[in-house]
């Protein structure tokens, strides 16, 4: 592995811990923007000198939008929608919106080494305790940001602001220490996590961090031992020290304890906590501060001393790791329903292309959520085979199979685990799809021409390293024409050497040349109206399906001759 290609990462530990102290609700995003507009900064979990959400200028990737326009629908490549990858990405990002990870899920990598680098991280995090540890850390960091936002909002009330700041520091320190211990215990194998773990250990052991933790704990201790008593009578509020008077509710409960029957419900009324303190509470707090001057002085001093406490690499890690966490989190329900994921062997040029027990990620997500069974499929192509021609009954899973094929290549090129127990996939320079469109009336010349125009564009750009998914085109024409045009397309694809799935109703295309492999969607033999959604490698034979249906209705030749003879 070309570890030398990650200079930014090696620089990590050398960086000075002076970073953005301001971290409000948008801090994560702001941090990302600082990097994309300012000088190149290293990612903690991604290789390369540039942050991963910025396209590298030296790698042409026409189908990947720049991050500035990533939010516009028009900028999402066509194939992402056709393959239902947009749905998968929406699922992946649910709950992770704040981290702005979408560009990461759209940008395919072109370098095997980069993919290895990410697969290593996935592989580490997949080991269960570490993933949970990281999630816990991220939740804590979200709390830290929210506490700091509160501190900023009540800056005019020093007793409150200082406490929110203290709470933020306490949460942050706890999270960092826990993550450091978790990483040390997990003993990660990946270069990224090892390097970050080393940095974290150094940071946690530094004198500054230790001092901050100690002082914070001491101030916290003092404040949490504060007990006071309020007396409310008409409009007068008096604050005093607690002298251990008995709890009245407990007295009431004790009196009626002899009735040994359970109460029917909880009568406590959920009282809403207003976002910030009201002026009565503030006045009370001011008097509590008067009653306990030592604790409140210590608090003020702590805030002054530890104004900027966030370590920039820790902040960066918190964002970048969400790419991995979100993907693994999405995988979880699919895995527990019995589906498999695996790390694909990825290469620019493969003699053999395989996937075993793979599935359509978007459909599987929906089916598993509904508690339904997911059918898995395999494919295997060895030289000189490059084209999977899929035929068979309608609604038999042909499109799903085609999408699955495309999805596998996209996900593999992100460095992610892919659906299936085993996969060997080509690292593609581009993914093209040609799916049947809704009739677009603004296009002149009719649908067939439109289809052909689109195909022409694709075939002019595709290379031997591209992936092409074609789903049931030329349906607006006769069988003869479709066969002719299909043959033309496939001959060209064969010439280019493009890796291709071609879904068609034209059986004869399945045995066109030595590049084509015939795959057929299948039905239950006894009941031809039941689809198995299995797509199997076998000769195309549209008639066998028709005969089965006929038999069910007693209309086969044999049946008809017998019954007519009586």
């Amino acid at each position: 592995m070309a570890s030398g290609s990650h200079p930014g990462f090696e620089r990590l530990s050398a960086r000075t811990p002076s970073g953005p102290a301001r971290l409000d609700g948008d801090a994560v995003r702001d941090h990302a923007r600082t990097r994309s507009t300012g000088a190149p900064t290293a990612g903690v979990l991604f290789p390369g000198a540039l942050s991963p959400d910025v396209p590298s200028p030296d790698v042409p990737s026409p189908d990947v939008p720049s991050p500035d326009v990533a939010d516009e629908d028009s900028a999402v490549p066509e194939y992402v929608t056709d393959l239902h990858l947009d749905r998968v990405i929406d699922e992946l990002l649910a709950g992770f919106e704040a981290y702005e990870l979408r560009p990461l899920y759209l940008r395919r990598l072109r370098d095997e080494a980069e993919i290895d680098y990410r697969q290593e991280v996935f592989s580490d995090l997949e080991r269960r305790p570490l993933l949970d540890d990281v999630r816990r850390f991220s939740r804590a960091m979200a709390t830290v940001r929210s506490h700091l936002a509160r501190a900023a909002r009540v800056a005019a009330q020093p007793h409150q602001a200082a406490r929110w700041h203290l709470d933020a520091v306490q949460t942050y320190a706890g999270a960092v220490v826990a993550l450091q211990e978790d990483l040390a215990k997990a003993d990660p194998r990946s270069r990224a996590l090892r390097s970050f773990a080393a940095h974290l250990t150094g940071y946690v052991e530094s004198a500054g961090f230790q001092k901050m933790v100690e002082e914070g704990a001491s101030v916290q201790e003092r404040l949490s031992s504060v007990r006071y008593i309020l007396h409310l009578r008409e409009l007068t509020v008096t604050v005093g020290r607690d002298e251990g008077e008995p709890d009245y509710a407990a007295q009431v409960l004790a009196t009626f304890d002899r009735f040994r029957y359970a109460a029917s419900r909880d009568y406590r009324i959920p009282l809403r906590d207003w976002d910030d303190m009201n002026h009565v509470e503030s006045q009370i707090l001011d008097r509590v501060a008067l009653l306990f001057p030592d604790a409140f002085d210590a608090l003020a001093e702590f805030q002054c001393r530890w104004k900027d406490f966030l370590d920039p690499p820790v902040v960066t890690f918190d964002r970048e790791v969400q790419f991995y966490v979100s993907y693994l989190q999405w995988m979880e329900p699919l895995r527990s329903s019995g589906l498999s994921f695996s790390f694909p062997e990825v290469s620019r040029r493969l003699g053999r292309s395989t996937a075993v027990d793979a599935f359509d990620a978007a459909l599987a997500t929906t089916l598993v959520r509904a508690g339904r069974q997911v059918v898995t499929n395999d494919f295997s192509l060895s030289e000189p085979e490059r084209i999977l021609v899929v035929t068979g009954p309608n609604q038999g899973g042909k499109s799903t199979f085609a999408r699955m094929f495309g999805q596998l290549h996209h996900l593999a090129s992100l460095g992610c685990p892919v659906p299936g127990t085993r996969a060997r996939l080509q690292l593609s320079d581009a993914i093209f799809t040609h799916f049947a469109r809704q009739e677009d009336l603004s296009v002149t010349g009719g649908r067939l021409e439109d289809d052909l125009q689109r195909m022409r564009r694709i075939l002019s750009e595709a290379t031997a390293e591209s992936v092409l998914v074609v789903n049931e085109i030329f349906t607006s024409t006769t069988l003869r024409d479709a066969a002719f045009l299909g043959r033309k397309v496939l001959e060209r694809v064969t010439e280019l050497g493009t890796l291709c799935v071609y879904v068609t109703f034209v059986d004869e295309l399945a045995s066109l040349n030595e590049s084509t492999v015939s795959m057929v969607s299948t039905v239950v033999p006894e009941d031809p109206s039941t689809r198995t959604y299995k797509v199997l490698r076998r000769d195309a034979d549209g008639r066998s399906y028709a005969i089965a249906i006929a038999r069910k209705h007693g209309l086969t030749y044999d049946q008809l001759t017998r019954s007519l003879a009586r």
Binding site: Q160, T236, T238, V252, F259
Partner: protein, 504 residues
């Protein structure tokens, strides 16, 4: 304080689910007639009667415990009825008080104080009843119950409740403790009872140097007043909850008393009706779960039929101890179904602690009583009758245990005799082999005869008697199956078919 009149170690739970086959059992045994007699128009008594009869207990000791309490109340029916009135009033009153819409801790507290005042009145009445009948009880259940009432509800206790009712008026304001949470916000507001010292000092604070720790909210500062109300609510929340839950618990005690006493009132009601009809009832003898079942009776009759016909019923004897299978054959309209129902009904009565409709009755308990009765042809039924029958039987078999009892009345007659017999034979053999008690009324001769010839297990064969003149005695006697079901004599009695009109 617990009630425990029905079970020594547990409260009777009216809400726990009934067996899923409850509708079949109710319809097949005609239980609504029994419940109506037990309820005498009282909806609550109906509900309790229904649940208690359908959910019998398995433990003979518990059955005897109920039988003894019932016997005590039989001697003092007015006490049972008085307890039922007090507990009904206490629970109905409580419902009305808590039917309010918008709740705050303060309003919850106010309503709870009102509810408590009412409930204290009912507690006093309960104590009076207990005091008036002290020493009259023989059963363990009644003795324990009344002793508990007298011991727990003494004068000191009522004084303690009155003290709370005074304190809860908060004449001197409210004291609440608190601590600091996130953002130094006050939390864990807890209402405190002030010491006398504290209360005195507080009065002084208002005019001296401690003024620094006090402040006033301006009477026109609406947000400030709201904030004060909010603090009060926070402090009151736990106390209001404690008091509301306490009144709940007292009400729950009365609800429990109402439920359990309702059962005895309902038993007394039905006994009165049967006595008026001139038929005997007896205290049955329960036996625990047995591998070889016990079932013997003298003068067993169908109580439901007796209630419907004001007592014109025939009693039968039954000696089925040790018999897992009882096959009943014989004349149509000969009283077979009635006899089968009387077995089912008496078993339910036995297991819930009631008196049984017989002169003498002794039986081992079963952990589930099931009925599979041939249904009237139902035109709305989508699937065929036989299909429906088999579906019903398959649902039953999924619930059976080796200690269950199954009553079959002309099962598997929705098809040909041969087919029905074959299926029935396989079902019966399998169930009896599993240990399930089966009482099977059938006119399927093929079935009865084959079981008679190759009786695999301990089987009792009974037959509806037909007198020599062809009339029925409605008596069920021991006897082997006979080849016909006496259809011919029914036919004879109605005078045969009308002659075919002669063509002219």
């Amino acid at each position: 304080m617990t009630v425990r009149l029905m079970t020594p170690d547990r409260d009777f739970d009216l809400a726990s689910p009934l067996p899923p086959h409850e509708p079949e059992l109710t319809a097949d045994l005609g239980l609504t007639t029994l419940w109506a007699a037990m309820a005498e128009g009282d909806r609550y008594l109906w509900d309790v009667a229904r649940v208690v009869t359908l959910r019998g207990c398995l433990d003979p000791a518990t059955i005897r415990y109920r039988q003894e309490v019932l016997s005590d109340f039989r001697s003092h029916p007015e006490v049972a009825r008085e307890l039922y009135v007090i507990s009904s009033e206490a629970t109905v009153g409580k419902k009305r008080i808590h039917g309010m819409l918008r709740r705050t801790p303060t309003s919850t507290l106010r309503h709870s104080v009102d509810a408590l005042k009412v409930l204290v009145g009912h507690l006093r009445r309960l104590r009076e009843v207990a005091a008036a009948h002290d020493g009259t009880w023989h059963s363990a259940g009644a003795r324990r119950f009344f002793a508990t009432v007298l011991a727990q509800l003494d004068d000191g206790y009522f004084a303690q409740i009155e003290r709370h009712l005074t304190l809860l008026r908060f004449k001197d304001g409210q004291w609440m403790s608190a601590q600091l949470a996130q953002g130094n916000r006050g939390t864990a507001y807890t209402l405190r009872v002030p010491s006398d010292v504290r209360a005195r000092r507080q009065r002084r604070f208002r005019t001296t140097d401690h003024r620094a720790y006090a402040f006033d909210v301006h009477p026109r500062d609406e947000a400030g007043l709201e904030a004060l109300g909010d603090l009060r609510d926070r402090a009151t929340n736990l106390v209001a909850n404690a008091l509301a839950q306490s009144t709940d618990r007292i009400a729950a005690y009365f609800t429990q008393l109402r439920t359990e006493v309702a059962f005895f009132v309902a038993c007394l009601n039905v006994e009165r009706r049967l006595e008026a009809a001139g038929v005997p009832t007896c205290r049955p003898e329960p036996v625990g779960l047995q591998p070889a079942p016990i079932l013997s009776a003298r003068g067993l009759y169908d109580g439901v039929l007796a209630l419907r016909t004001c007592g014109r019923v025939i009693g039968n004897d039954l000696h089925a101890d040790g018999r897992t299978l009882v096959m009943i054959t014989g004349a149509n309209s000969g009283g077979k179904s009635t006899f089968l129902r009387s077995i089912g009904l008496s078993h339910l009565q036995l297991q819930c602690g009631m008196h049984v409709c017989a002169e003498r009755y002794r039986a081992s308990v079963c952990d589930g009583l099931f009925t599979h009765f041939a249904r009237e042809e139902d035109v709305t039924m989508r699937s065929g009758r036989f299909d429906e029958e088999l579906g019903r039987m398959s649902r039953i078999t999924r619930q059976l245990s080796p200690h269950s009892m199954l009553l079959c009345n002309e099962s598997f007659t929705g098809t040909s005799e041969w087919e029905g017999s074959e299926i029935a034979r396989q079902v019966v053999r399998a169930l009896v082999g599993h240990g399930v008690r089966v009482v099977f009324v059938t006119h399927l001769y093929d079935l009865a005869q084959s079981l008679y010839e190759q009786a695999t297990g301990p089987t009792l064969f009974l037959r509806a008697e037909r007198l020599d003149d062809g009339s029925r005695s409605f008596r069920i006697l021991e006897g082997a199956p006979l080849p016909t079901s006496y259809g011919p004599d029914l036919y004879e009695r109605m005078g045969g078919w009308l002659p075919r009109p002669r063509r002219t």
